[in-house]
């Protein structure tokens, strides 16, 4: 049977590896403006898309469906991003007898609506952040409040308002952003929670109502609402919190007839967990859960969607005590995170390091790949595992010393700085921490710059 992978880069490779392992042939798609063809090596067949931008290619439902039909692909994996959470896409697959590796269109429609999800969670008895739909009801709210787009995501249409008098203005801004990003301008209001932790639960659900809970992750290291470092498990939670997140996740996932793998996101503050949203897809950071459990989540996702029964003994799987993922991106942390473009000249991996067995590198690039501005800036995921958080941080520090990418400036310096930062080491991180403190923790040493240039000079002048 053939599986179409409606994605590119790192996740297309990740999906293809598992699909081949379990006996499927994979079909990859490529945009005419692609500059990095590395992922195509992992596909059994490659089809070229038509179009000049993302809307005409990776976001074009009709074109992707017709490619799947023409090439007799019975299965389709959307990866993450692009059309992965689009109910119309899942529906189009259904209508054309293609199995969409993800939840049903109805579940996707529900997950898209943040407000409806919150109501559903409350019905299930899950603690949720206090919210109102009508701005008139804001009078009994303490400021600051958060304005959120009903169909939000990725930090778009999201605004914090500290001053009551500015609320109208901010609503207008948020609505405009939401309209552009999601085609729906409706917003609602939530109590602002200061310095929470971002905690999430990974699960897989089958057609028979079995929900397997695969553990927690802490994704509190963020920059402008984008995760850059994720950890598993979330060590900030105590046993009681853990039981709470376990039962809440199972209850909610069952209540919405979910199928396949997904994530429930929570905010955590002062021993309280607040439901935030459901992510109905494989996530970038699924890898840390894989390292901690030793399971292949993509495999579980595919087999559960294809109707296999899951066994709750999967919940006892254990490989590593702790794992973290560093998102290595082509952006310059010393220069306002401007995206970088260029050829990858060389990738140095810690291949001979004594910790190499604790290291995994999931990537979509290779030497001579060209990084263009068309796609997002993720170059790869630097995954480090170990016994516990402290030991894993030390291992990561050692491994980073031998890691680097030449050709484009990357954000690796942030991680080195974080591993020295007292608040990070003591796990006192919250999502806006980096935005507020980056200048303090990321200091470039002129001494290092001079020393670095000297190595160039010495190489030029003393090569024999």
């Amino acid at each position: 049977m053939k599986l179409l992978i409606a994605n590119r880069g790192e996740i297309a490779i990740r999906v293809s590896k598992t699909a081949k392992k379990i006996g499927f042939k994979t079909v990859g798609i490529v945009a005419p403006f692609e500059t990095n063809f590395y992922y195509l090596q992992f596909m059994d067949e490659v089809i070229e898309l038509e179009g000049v931008n993302l809307l005409e290619t990776f976001l074009n439902i009709n074109q992707i469906i017709s490619i799947a039909k023409k090439n007799r692909c019975k299965l389709l994996h959307p990866g993450y991003g692009f059309l992965a959470e689009n109910p119309d896409f899942a529906k189009a697959c259904e209508e054309n007898n293609i199995t969409f590796i993800g939840p049903s269109p109805a579940t996707l429609t529900l997950a898209q609506d943040k407000l409806l999800c919150k109501k559903k969670a409350i019905e299930c008895g899950i603690n949720s952040i206090p919210f109102v739909e009508d701005k008139k009801d804001l009078f009994n709210f303490e400021f600051p409040v958060m304005i959120k787009a009903k169909k939000g995501g990725g930090g778009k249409g999201l605004r914090k308002v500290s001053d009551k008098n500015l609320i109208e203005e901010e609503i207008a801004k948020a609505s405009r952003e939401a309209k552009v990003a999601f085609g729906d301008e409706s917003v609602f209001f939530e109590q602002f929670i200061d310095k929470p932790k971002h905690i999430e639960a990974q699960f897989v659900a089958d057609k028979f109502g079995e929900v397997v809970f695969l553990g927690t992750r802490d994704c509190s290291v963020q920059r402008r609402h984008q995760k850059i470092l994720e950890e598993a498990p979330a060590v900030a939670l105590n046993n009681k919190n853990h039981e709470n997140i376990y039962s809440s996740t199972k209850k909610l996932v069952r209540a919405i007839n979910y199928l396949g793998c997904g994530t429930v996101e929570f905010l955590y503050k002062d021993n309280n967990l607040f439901f935030m949203e459901i992510n109905p897809r494989i996530q970038v950071e699924h890898t840390v859960t894989e390292e901690v459990t030793g399971l292949d989540i993509i495999e579980l996702q595919i087999s559960s969607v294809l109707g296999e029964k899951l066994n709750d003994s999967l919940e006892n799987c254990k490989k590593h005590g702790f794992s973290m993922e560093l998102r290595i991106c082509a952006e310059d942390p010393y220069n306002n995170f401007q995206p970088q473009t260029g050829y990858i000249e060389k990738i140095f991996l810690p291949a001979s390091n004594k910790y190499r067995n604790n290291f995994r590198w999931d990537t979509g690039i290779t030497e001579r790949s060209f990084i263009s501005a068309y796609f997002d800036s993720l170059l790869g995921k630097f995954i480090v595992s170990g016994q516990d958080r402290k030991k894993t941080i030390n291992t990561a520090r050692e491994l980073l010393k031998e890691f680097g990418i030449l050709g484009v400036q990357t954000n690796i310096s942030i991680f080195k700085a974080l591993f020295k930062d007292k608040n990070y080491l003591e796990n006192n991180i919250y999502p806006s921490y980096l935005d507020e403190n980056l200048d303090k923790i990321l200091q470039i040493k002129r001494e290092n710059i001079i020393a670095g240039y000297l190595s160039f000079w010495a190489q030029k002048n003393y090569t024999i």
Partner: protein, 165 residues
């Protein structure tokens, strides 16, 4: 040779391998080279062992990797003026730049070669034409930034010459 690295004036003086002398803020520092390969160099500075990987991004920009850090630095030559130093640095630095984008097919000089005005420095193939690049002045090669069989962009600095005083 005087350089401005990330806004700081540094003078570098070559001495017998594996040593070099630096002057930063009038303090002299000696470096000792331990190991060199294609795009890295390891050396001792103030009893500290450092190893860096680097890539030249353009004329004045370098990307440098070191132990989990990546940064871009800007380096410019400081043209000596009379006010700065009367005796030792009357020489003038000449940057030989690529007149067009193309492929370096042959380099005729080595690091520290003495060249005469008009002498061939390298061949640059562009649009199937072989271009010979010659020394504009007599002097000494102080830096070679390119390798044979490498593509270069227009205006990329290829060779740096120090004119005889």
């Amino acid at each position: 040779m005087k350089l401005c690295i990330a806004g700081k004036i540094v003078s570098i003086e070559k001495s017998a391998y594996p040593f070099a002398n630096l002057k930063i803020d009038n303090r002299s520092v000696k470096i000792k080279i331990i190991d060199i390969d294609k795009n890295s160099c390891e050396y001792l500075i103030k009893k500290r062992k450092v190893k860096f990987y680097w890539l030249q991004l353009d004329d004045t920009l370098f990307q440098i990797l070191s132990e989990g850090e990546s940064f871009v630095c800007e380096v410019r030559y400081v043209l000596p003026t009379k006010a700065q130093d009367k005796q030792s640095e009357k020489s003038i630095i000449y940057e030989i730049k690529a007149p067009v984008s193309g492929l370096i097919t042959k380099i005729f000089v080595g690091p520290a070669s003495i060249v005469n005005r008009g002498q061939k420095l390298l061949s640059l193939e562009a649009m199937k034409m072989e271009n010979e690049i010659q020394a504009p002045v007599s002097g000494k090669v102080v830096q070679i930034n390119v390798m044979e069989n490498r593509e270069v962009n227009k205006n990329e600095t290829l060779i740096v010459l120090e004119q005889n005083p």
